[in-house]
Point group: D2
Chain length 141, copies 4
C-alpha cells in the first residue's frame, strides 16, 4: 500500500472517535507517534467546584494517546494511565493535549501527554500512558 494512502487510511480510522465528536474535540496526527487534541471548555464540562472536569482533561489526553499509539496502523489499547493535575481551568479555556512517543516495543509502548491551557499558556496536567500492542493491524501492514 502506498504510504500516503496508508497514512490516510490510518487517519480515517482514528477520526472515528464517537466520544471526541460528541464533545467537539479535534484530533490530529502530527506524525506517527505524535498527536494533538484540541477542545474549548463549555459549562457542561465542569465539576461541582466549577472548574474543568477531570473526566474532560483525561478524555482529551486519552484521545491524544489513542491517536499516537494507533498511528502506526497496529491495534493498540490502553494498559494504564497515570495523570497528575497541576492547575484548574475554566469554561472558555482552550485546552490542547499533545502526545509524544517515548518508547515503542513489540508488545508495549509508552507516551507522555502534556495538557496545556492555550489561554494562559500553563501546563495544567501531565500524563504517562502505556499501551499494549496487539498482533493485529487495522490497515494493511
Amino acid at each position: 500500500m502506498d504510504d500516503i494512502i496508508r497514512q490516510q487510511a490510518i487517519n480515517d480510522h482514528i477520526q472515528k472517535d464517537a466520544f471526541a465528536d460528541y464533545l467537539g474535540a479535534k484530533v490530529k496526527i502530527i506524525e506517527p507517534g505524535h498527536s494533538r487534541v484540541s477542545l474549548v471548555i463549555n459549562n457542561k464540562m465542569t465539576n461541582f467546584h466549577g472548574t474543568t472536569h477531570g473526566g474532560i482533561i483525561f478524555a482529551i489526553s486519552d484521545m491524544a494517546f489513542a491517536a499516537a499509539c494507533n498511528s502506526h496502523g497496529k491495534i493498540a489499547v490502553a494498559l494504564n494511565v497515570s495523570v497528575c493535575f497541576l492547575k484548574p481551568s475554566f469554561p472558555g479555556d482552550h485546552l490542547v493535549a499533545e502526545a509524544k512517543e517515548e518508547h515503542k516495543g513489540r508488545r508495549t509502548a509508552l507516551y507522555s501527554i502534556k495538557i496545556f491551557n492555550e489561554n494562559t499558556g500553563e501546563l495544567i496536567a501531565k500524563s504517562q500512558d502505556q499501551a499494549y500492542r496487539k498482533d493485529d493491524w487495522f490497515v494493511e501492514k
Copy 2:
C-alpha cells in the same frame, strides 16, 4: 449544624456535577469516604475501536473519587490518578464505579476505585487516586 442537614448540604453540593448530568451518570454517597457512580454506555461513548471510551471509564471513576474525597465537607481536589484498564466494555453495558477511602490525612487522602461491568460481573478497570485537601470547607465545619 445538625448532622443530617449537614450530610444533605454536602450531597446537594456533590450533585452539582454538570458533566455527570451531561453524560447521565448517577452519583451517590454511600457514607463519608464511600461513593458509587452508575452509567449505561451508549454509542456516543465509544472510541474508534468501538469499545467504551477510556475517557468515559475515567469520568465515572473520577466522579466517584470526587464524591468520596469531598464527602467530609472539606474541599478536596485531584492530585493524581493511576488507572489500569483490564477488560473492554460496549454500548448497552451498565458500568458502576465504586470509590473507597484508604487513607485520610491532614493534607492528602487516598482512594481505591473499582469499575465493574454490571452486565458481565467483570472488574473492567481499577484506579488509585490521591486528593489534596484544602483548608476550606464548602459546608460549615
Copy 3:
C-alpha cells in the same frame, strides 16, 4: 507434578531474590496471588531527610508484587507501578508489604500492595502494580 511439590518449586524460585537477601527482607507466599514481605529498617536504609528511603519502601512492595504475580508458576514481569506515599517511617520500624491479586488475565494481572508500619499500625504507602504474563513457565505447567 504433585501440587505440593509444585508449590515448593515455585517458592524455591521466588526465594532466589538476591536483593531481598542483601537487604534482609523476608518474602512469603501466603497462597497463590497473595504474598507478604517483612523488613526492619536500619540506618543504611534512610534518605537525606532521615526517614526510610522511598527506594526501600518500593523495594519491599516490589518483592511482594513479584512473589504474588509469579506465584502461579508462569513468568511475570512488571509493566508499571504507581505508589502513593502516606506517612514517613524511621530506623527501627518494622515494615510489612502485603500484595493481593485484583485481576488475572491471559496477558496481564493487577495487584494492590499495602505497606504497613507494624510498630505504629499505620498504612504508610499503597501501590497499584500491573504485570505482564509471559507464555513461559518457570515450573512445569
Copy 4:
C-alpha cells in the same frame, strides 16, 4: 546567603543519602530542578529472574527525584510515583537516572525521570513523580 555557598549547602544536604551510599550510587545536581544518578549493577542487585531488581531501578530514579525536588532548598517529599518498566538490564550494566522538573507550584511539583542503560543506550524505565513542597527550608531561604 551568597548563591554559590547556598548551592553548596543544598548539595551537601542532598549528598547525605545513606541508602545511595550503601548501594554506591552517585547523585549529582546538574542545576536546580535537574539531577542525575549513576549506578553500576552488581549480582546483589538482581531479582529471581536474574535481571536488575525493580527496587534498584526505582531507587536510583527516586534519588534523582529527591535531589531535583529538594534542589531549591525547600523541603520536598514524595507524594506519588508512577514508573513504567520497558527493558530488562543485567549485572555489569551502568544505569543512569535523569530527573527534570516539569512543573513547580507552591504546594506541589512534578518531575519526569528517564532511566537509561549506558551500556546499550536503551531507555529502560520512565517515571512520573509528584512532590509535596513543605513550608520549611533546609537552607536559609
